[in-house]
Symmetry: C2
Subunit: 489 residues, 2 copies
């Protein structure tokens, strides 16, 4: 159908065309259908929006991006056709009807997800079908490779190592020990991390307090080759690009199909050619993993997938009953890390950082765990690990001399005190996370919590349990309304 | 967050707000997320689109509909918040995880589908979960009632009867016999029909050739009370409104969860308080129902659901191997119906129309089927049924004197002839439908096919098998490229 162009002064994250609803009916597409717009042999597939009045029956409204690609101006005549859905729809239907998908079918789905050729309703159907009908081992391997291939891949000389934590424990910033220690020992550690989705801070948010994290794949390669390690934001580097889209699609319904979670983690390791991955599996009543058997199950699935991909996975089941370290929220966590390196810090954070590194070292160096633990701790005690962290900070554009007290924290502060004498018997990590989020973390970098107590500590009535920080008085107040996460009895 | 309004000269079928992608990130919502826009205590929940440049960081772009509801003009300051997803998301998750839904949960989902509070990705997740995990008898009853209650409901005095055909057979216009015969016998027949989705014509498209079909619920009630019957378009009357939305969501992935198909049909019957429904179940190698056991299975499911809703369902397994009547396409079907009433018509169309009516009459009047068949045929032979059809046409704003030859058909015509002497051994109803669609039906009312042969007919080489009609030379040519659906051997 030939229609006159009206360029709409609006851009969007996708190609959009607007037709009068009568015109849409005539070409047989409804809202959220697909239309192909053709001008001088060039074409664009756009999502259809319908309008009752702002676009006339002989018009097609196009957003700026469409106008640019096709070089359109007001009054141009274009041909508009209904567009067939992409072929990956058939693969999604197969998964819905319980069939196994081939490598090519999974590649088609991921390709169409990345290009935006699949609409949200269709991509979401794939996630739901994967959640209910599952992805088997083969499908998970294909999915991992397809996600890894959806962005740039980086190769390194030398032994490439990596870590991953199954989330859910606030303050768990062991990456800031793992990466410098391993890099200092001569390994390559191209660590890409996520930003917080539902937590008060992701590793990338914390690193961003002192350095740039939106590094390109080229920068990651260059820095790792030169310094040994990097702590970057995965989403900025076009590494495993499909993963961000898939996470976005999983979010509204909070779906975590097991195969997809595995693929999401391992694709990022595969894309930077990691050969060894140590996996932190914190278990606790409010952590993601609620039992040891659940943790062992995840460990087994990761190991199996790793084997198929040529990646050795080492599991480390850890304690997830309370926050690690004292800082929670980007700035407070970074402050905690720096303090811990200078000796005034959090014993548990240092110990866990050393332990997870030792688990991997023991395998790599073929030494007993006690010897590996000593090697890792030596790197910290000697100052070499801290020096390496500062090198990395500098390489990512930060100030290598940064001191804990240089890090700005929320101007508004409030101490939460113990209502009684007694012993700390429980700390709700979900409430801790909620309080830090209400206070403004992670967007407000200085917002969060400084913990003064750990489970088992004896406290007196009036002792400070934790201090709350925020840049907003209103948010501080909102955060204080959450029930006290620290139980004293 | 406080933002300045920019009204965008664009309307859409849903509320849309556009934020700069940085602003969107700051409030923590991505594209297709939800935002609440508040002005002077009034609020609207809108779908978020993000823009890189056309909307500035301190602005919110609103489409015309949002601007009107909140009475906004350029430069106004509004508050924009991220909006929590609706609670029905939890019900959808339950269905994904294989749990049974309660009446309240299904009502919540349908309510949010109708209001547009559920986004396509979320609504589609419900359909996929229903497809894979199924809907049990209780859930199907709740769904039917929720769909029926999503629009207006109409009550009548007297015995309300209805029919439904499981689709797939071209030309199957038995409604034009069922409704007049039953109305003429004193029953109330508030028949609402769909338009064609994938077929060359729906009952509503055919009726529209001679009368208005977009009747309001009030008009349907008034006409049925006065004349006894109506042949209206269901989508125009705000009856079972949720159904249209659900069909739209099912379409891209072509999903037909059994419980949802049952609910879709029965909700429309429930909404007009039908007490008896006769169900046409055509079986054929290219029909929707491919075997008698499949037909019996559907019949059983419809009967069970009907029992729970207080609706008596009578099944009629019919022959679906070839088109019914001779006309295919809106105008040609209407012409066929009128010709059949005046005696020059299609014997099979008349017989099937009478038979399905007799199946119901036999139950209603508690008489043997032979007696019921005679009662129905008497209404036709006496001219009373035709008079009633013309009364209905007049009540719906048409010309009661309309003659078959008054109905305009496609100006371009082409006869398709038999390539050999022999017997018609097969007619592909899917190819017949495709040809009529290519010729322009149902949008081009005069486009379609006039069949000259039935299976078993003897033909000579050069005899006309069927005639093709279209208002477009180009479309006629495209239609002629489909392989001949009539096999002669």
């Amino acid at each position: 159908m030939k229609l006159r162009v009206r360029v709409l002064d609006l851009d969007a994250e996708k190609y959009v065309a607007v037709l009068n609803e009568r015109t849409a009916k005539r070409i047989g597409e409804g809202p959220d259908g697909r239309v192909e717009i053709v001008k001088d042999g060039k074409k664009v597939v756009a999502i259809l929006n319908t309008a009752k009045r702002s676009v006339k029956e002989d018009e097609v409204g196009v957003l700026l991006d469409v106008a640019e690609v096709l070089n359109l101006k007001d009054g141009d005549v274009v041909e508009v056709f209904p567009e067939e859905p992409p072929r990956s729809i058939e693969a999604i239907r197969k998964k819905i009807f319980g069939e196994k998908l081939s490598k090519e079918e999974i590649e088609a789905i991921i390709g169409d997800v990345v290009e935006g050729a699949l609409f949200p309703a269709e991509a979401s159907a794939f996630i739901v079908a994967a959640q209910i009908n599952g992805l088997d081992e083969d499908e998970t391997v294909y999915l991992t490779e397809a996600i890894a291939n959806s962005g740039q891949r980086i190769d390194f000389d030398g032994v490439v190592v990596d870590k991953h934590s199954i989330g859910g424990v606030p303050g768990n910033r062991i990456t800031f020990f793992f990466v410098p220690i391993m890099a200092s020992l001569g390994f390559k550690v191209p660590k890409t991390s996520s930003r917080a989705i539902t937590s008060p801070s992701g590793t990338a948010d914390t690193m961003e307090v002192v350095a740039r994290v939106d590094l390109s794949a080229e920068e990651i390669k260059e820095i790792v080759e030169r310094v040994g390690g990097v702590i970057a934001w995965g989403g900025g580097a076009n590494i495993a690009s499909a993963d961000d889209r898939l996470i976005q699609i999983r979010r509204p319904l909070r779906l975590d199909p097991l195969g997809m979670v595995l693929a999401s983690v391992m694709a990022k390791k595969l894309a930077v050619s990691s050969k060894y991955v140590v996996l932190d599996l914190p278990v606790g009543p409010e952590a993601k993993l609620r039992s040891f058997s659940e943790a062992r199950d995840w460990e087994r699935r990761f190991k199996e997938l790793g084997e198929r991909l040529g990646i050795k996975v080492i599991g480390f089941v850890s304690n997830g009953i309370q926050p690690i370290g004292r800082g929670i929220g980007p700035a407070l966590e970074m402050r905690d890390v720096l303090m811990t390196y200078t000796g005034e810090g959090s014993k548990d954070l240092l110990e866990k950082g050393v332990e997870i590194t030792a688990r991997l070292l023991s395998v790599l160096k073929k030494v007993p765990i006690s010897r590996a633990r000593k090697m890792a701790m030596d790197e910290v005690r000697s100052g070499r690990a801290e020096a390496k962290l500062r090198e990395i900070i500098e390489a990512q554009g930060g100030d290598p001399e940064v001191r804990p007290e240089d890090i700005e924290v929320g101007r508004y502060q409030e101490e939460v005190i113990s209502p009684a004498d007694g012993k700390v018997s429980y700390i709700s990590i979900q409430r801790i996370a909620a309080i830090a989020r209400y206070a403004g973390a992670p967007v407000d970098k200085g917002a969060g919590i400084w913990m003064n107590v750990k489970i088992g500590d004896r406290v007196k009535r009036g002792d400070v349990l934790f201090t709350l920080f925020s840049s907003s008085k209103r948010k501080l107040k909102a955060a204080l309304e959450v029930e006290n996460p620290v139980r004293v009895q």
